[in-house]
Symmetry: C2
Subunit: 262 residues, 2 copies
């Protein structure tokens, strides 16, 4: 039995709400033991891009990261959001250190190849430097990771925060019993998307297929759950999806949806 | 004799020039041994503030950091500038980690008290966490520090990069023989401000007073030199002021102005 490690992902909707974000950070700072926070971007990048008259380009519902938009997400995710989270955690007694994938070379990616769509400066993760991350954890630091990675040729690349959390959890599974917790604005995976209290307390691959077929699980929840099952299949001990207000309960299995291999 | 440590400060004018910045980063990455980079802001923050229609307020020639401007410098210094420097250094084989004072709690400050002028969200340094910085250096990381600090109550604060470099050099002097090098767009301290080749190769406190009295040393060079002498007086082994293109020569005493106690 290895030492436990929490890898917690906090979504953009929570970051956009100062009160909800503040409650979450207090709970995260009180989570005892070794931990890593991965955060999403929130709507601030889109708002600042609009003020700078940079057009947000969408293709098939997905954002394209051209060079001006890459600069905006570097500023907002890597600067404004990340550094404010770090300063607030430090004030709460949590020794946070804000990082992108480039810092310490912790998450290297490659620019997504152009097939039918050119997503621009978007990175697909190639390698997590688990040794470097472990050295930071052994210095009693709490990494707070923004959704940006870097390529061998020195480019910063926009990267999905859910995927980064999952890749980090998998890479650290060789050193720790990893508990990967996705926090967002719902109480877990819902069996009825219209009913916020219809939380599925545990979910196996077979049940997942059933809920997808019935349409109960759809849209943004699908890549999140695909990431969750992939993490379990590659050594992560436990994956939970929960409300940001229920982090501490979810950490002991008393809230949210626990994802199982069956 | 302790192990040597370079604390190098690079000014905003060099960062604003992509070719000059790229040459500097290549030289910095090749500087062998333990090292820390502290960077200034450059003009990008002012340009982005203007695009966001945030007015740059100046009182007696000094910038006031109100809340909208604090957000801009957090984005630009802590995000855009810092993370691009880190990604470029990583590509050059230097294991850079981008930090503000808040990250790992390395540089804590207090918001400057309001006397005749309210400078807004500006921090005066209270404490450098030399133990934490040393732990990062022992992990073979190269800290790249943006000109932002944090207060006990979780505020980010705009802080002068020259002062941060000096405070970092002083704090690390208990662990290392610190060589503090200020790199900028001139070849050193000039005896004739109109002649770029009139570099004073070494400067003592007595000579400094003479050059100030004659007006040869004036304006922005005065706080830089005051910082330099203060650093020497509190344990820093060597301080050099040089051109960003001559970092490697200055590191071995073959370029720039070396500041002496006499």
């Amino acid at each position: 039995m290895s030492q436990p490690l929490y890898v917690v992902k906090i979504g953009g909707n929570v970051i956009d709400n100062p009160e909800a974000c503040s409650r979450f950070l207090e709970a995260f700072s009180k989570l005892s033991g070794t931990k890593i926070l991965v955060h999403g971007g929130g709507k601030v990048a889109t708002q600042i891009a609009a003020k700078l008259q940079i057009e947000t380009q969408m293709v098939d519902g997905r954002r394209i990261t051209d060079k001006p938009m890459l600069d905006v997400v570097t500023m907002v995710y890597g600067g404004l959001v990340n550094k404010n989270l770090v300063a607030m955690l430090q004030a709460a007694g949590c020794n946070a250190i804000g990082l992108t994938g480039a810092d310490g070379g912790i998450i290297r990616s490659v620019k997504r190849p152009v097939k039918t769509i050119d997503y621009g400066f978007v990175g697909d993760i190639e390698e997590v430097n688990d040794i470097q991350v472990n050295a930071l954890l052994h210095s009693s630091l709490v990494p707070v990771i923004a959704p940006l990675t870097y390529s061998n040729d020195g480019l910063l690349l926009n990267t999905n925060a859910d995927t980064m959390a999952s890749a980090m959890a998998v890479a650290m599974a060789g050193h720790y019993d990893v508990n990967l917790i996705y926090c967002f604005e719902k109480k877990g995976v819902l069996s009825d998307p219209e009913d916020d209290n219809s939380v599925i307390s545990s979910l196996t691959p077979g049940q997942y297929i059933g809920f997808k077929d019935s349409g109960a699980i759809n849209k943004g929840m699908i890549p999140k759950l695909d990431n969750a099952f992939a993490a379990l299949n590659t050594g992560v001990a436990k994956v939970t999806i929960c409300h940001a207000d229920e982090l501490r309960e979810a950490a002991i299995g008393a809230a949210g949806t626990v994802i199982h291999l069956g």
